[in-house]
């Protein structure tokens, strides 16, 4: 038997008045997947989650769970359970009665439901707090209780709305690991909404990057990070430099691109070859770039390189983040391993040449009519 918990959105649109929150998206999430919906605030990710949960009705389109259209069904008949951003634990009930709430609603007797709620609390290491009320709990403890309360319904799909955003950094990392472990143990589908890139790629089997109500890319964590589809994804995920250039020539399977400031990029054409004269975006990973101090003319070898002035140097522990200015649009960031950096350190104000291998150039596709900048400032 196929595992239950497959989600399918078919041409789903949600309008709030004139505002398009979700714009005709289609998405399929296989059963047992840990899926992260990722995007900046206002991109529609929470609306999608709430449509799957049944707290929002799509203006048009279908939401299917295990092949059945669930639009119009109450949450309890969808086999979903939701964990709310503020946890929404009932303040007047003890942890035990919070966890037992859904059993109480379905008419399970007091002794039986408390028994099961106690087991579920033990599962999230909260057995000792059974008789506390939510106001007596810390953020991390509230989250565990909320998780227990959602899981006691035996859902096919667990929906998590920014579950880690209320926690401090240490707890966030700890709970992140526990969520992943819990998902693996239960084998059910988790859909987790977040605006934090690190959280998404650390957790997810499948990352869905959203942009103003549209899906920008659906891929594995590694692909979203390493081979972003669009400039928007590359910028949003971070870890990439996005450069815009004009295609000057295509020959022998190599694409030549004229970059601003007389720079040039050359890279092997892969699936699609852009027409000569068109404007395209490419990305190069920040950690695949090398720096050389510029001496004398330096224009001799400017293929797959940009020249610039160092505007900031930030020590990050394992690597050093060097930011170059003066390349038009975005800042150009180079992440150097600390060994490489300290072998020949640069300082703010130095003029340097950043260069990379042709095989590290990644051609991005453009989506007409959509912003390719996740943040107004374009920086991350």
């Amino acid at each position: 038997m196929r595992r239950p918990g497959e989600i399918e959105l078919v041409n789903c649109t949600k309008l709030f008045g004139e505002t398009v929150a979700v714009n005709g998206i289609s998405l399929r999430i296989l059963a047992g997947t840990y899926c992260c919906l990722l995007g900046p605030s206002g991109c529609g990710k929470t609306t999608i989650l709430r449509m799957i949960a049944g707290h929002e009705t799509p203006t048009s389109g279908e939401v299917r769970i295990d092949g059945i259209n669930v639009v119009g069904l109450p949450p309890v008949r969808r086999g979903t359970a939701m964990m709310f951003q503020d946890y929404a634990l009932f303040p007047h009930l003890t942890c035990l009665d919070n966890v037992a709430f859904s059993l109480e609603m379905s008419g399970v007797g007091k002794a039986a439901r408390r028994e099961r709620a106690r087991e579920m609390l033990a599962r999230v290491q909260m057995a000792h707090f059974a008789d506390r009320v939510p106001a007596q709990l810390s953020g991390g403890q509230k989250q565990r209780v909320a998780l227990a309360r959602a899981l006691i319904t035996n859902p096919r799909v667990l929906l998590l709305d920014e579950p880690l955003s209320a926690l401090d950094e240490f707890l966030r990392l700890q709970m992140r690991g526990e969520l992943r472990r819990m998902q693996r143990d239960l084998g059910i589908t988790f859909i987790h909404v977040t605006h934090t890139q690190q959280e998404a790629i650390a957790l997810a089997d499948l990352v869905v990057v959203m942009n103003q109500g549209n899906i920008e890319q659906v891929a594995s964590a590694r692909d979203v990070y390493a081979v972003p589809l669009t400039a928007y994804v590359a910028r949003f995920m971070g870890g990439q430099n996005v450069l815009e250039g004009r295609v000057s020539a295509v020959m022998d399977g190599m694409v030549a691109l004229a970059l601003p400031d007389h720079g040039r990029a050359e890279f092997p054409a892969r699936d699609s070859v852009p027409p000569t004269g068109s404007t395209v975006n490419i990305s190069v990973r920040r950690d695949r770039i090398h720096l050389a101090k510029r001496t004398g003319d330096g224009n001799a070898d400017s293929i797959n390189a940009v020249n610039g002035k160092v505007v900031a140097v930030e020590y990050q522990g394992g690597w050093v983040k060097v930011t170059l200015g003066g390349n038009g649009g975005d800042d150009f960031v180079v992440n150097l391993p600390d060994g490489e950096f300290f072998a020949d350190p640069v300082n703010a104000g130095d003029t340097v040449r950043a260069h990379w291998a042709a095989s590290d150039v990644h051609l991005l596709i453009s989506r007409n009519g959509r912003s390719d900048r996740p943040y107004a400032t374009g920086q991350n």
Binding site: P75, V76, A88, A150
Partner: protein, 287 residues
């Protein structure tokens, strides 16, 4: 705080403390005089000094002498206040819930409901009195006066419930729905318990506003007076300390109402804590 650093208070402290002391004296001084004088001796008058001490004037309240029908006034004012309280709570909570969702004409209905707060009470009273007369219905405390009081307490209750519900996160109701609660279960098991302190506030308001209401009762009350009207009538035609005894008794009743509500809240909380402690003990003995 800065003043505390050198251990001295600024001069403004003494000015404000004096103003506040005068205010408290002004507020409670005359009331205290009335309470003391209500224990005037049998041959005492309406002013100090006390000529002996007795509870005679309290006794006088409960005979329908020429002092007026005090017992009767109580027997109307308290049931009226309780009916007003009940209706105010029911309608305010339901209206508050309705206004949580936007509906057609919500703004208009809100303004219409709240407008009666700014209509002068006497005008409203005369209007309702005339209305009943035109319809040929005799005005009574339990019909026309009840309506007049509700025109005062309902907008108040509605405004309080707005404030209460605006602090109630909608995610509680969504969570309840998510966990399989019907609308009714969600209301009974989640929403009402969370907003219960606000509802008690509405109830107390409804009671005291009605119990204390003069202008809206004036024309609407019919042949038998409510307490404030009776007191007012007495001030014009009696000159015994029974008047003061009446003031003491009405104040005491207000305090009793408040005390009963506070004590009942405390008992509910104590009950919850006891249950929790008992459960914890049971758990410890299990393990």
């Amino acid at each position: 705080m800065a003043a505390r650093a050198n251990g001295r208070r600024p001069w403004t402290f003494y000015v404000l403390a004096t103003v506040f002391t005068l205010f408290v004296l002004f507020l409670y001084g005359p009331m205290a005089c009335i309470y003391i004088l209500s224990f005037q001796g049998p041959n005492g008058g309406l002013t100090f000094p006390l000529n002996g001490v007795s509870t005679r004037w309290f006794g006088a309240l409960f005979y329908q002498e020429r002092t007026g029908d005090i017992a009767g006034a109580f027997s109307r004012s308290i049931p009226l206040a309780v009916i007003v309280l009940t209706l105010t709570v029911i309608f305010s909570v339901m209206a508050g819930l309705a206004f949580r969702r936007r509906f057609m004409g919500a703004t208009l209905i809100f303004y219409v409901a709240v407008a009666s707060l700014i209509v002068p009470g006497l005008v409203l009273s005369v209007g309702i009195g005339l209305g009943f007369q035109m319809l040929g219905i005799p005005p009574r405390w339990y019909s026309s006066a009840l309506g007049a009081h509700l025109s005062w307490t309902l907008p108040f209750g509605l405004l309080i419930m707005f404030a209460v519900f605006s602090r109630l996160s909608p995610s509680y109701e969504e969570a309840a729905r998510d966990l399989g609660a019907s609308s009714w279960q969600s209301l009974r098991r989640v929403v009402i318990p969370i907003v219960l302190p606000g509802i008690i506030g509405v109830a107390l308001f409804g009671f005291t506003l009605s119990y204390d209401e003069f202008p809206r009762s004036w024309v609407t009350v019919g042949p038998s007076n409510t307490l404030p009207l009776e007191i007012w009538g007495m001030t014009t035609n009696i000159t015994s300390p029974a008047l003061y005894a009446l003031g003491t008794v009405t104040t005491a009743i207000s305090f009793i109402v408040i005390a009963v509500s506070l004590v009942s809240i405390a008992i509910i909380q104590l009950h919850r804590t006891r249950r929790r402690v008992a459960r914890e003990r049971a758990m410890q003995t299990e393990s």
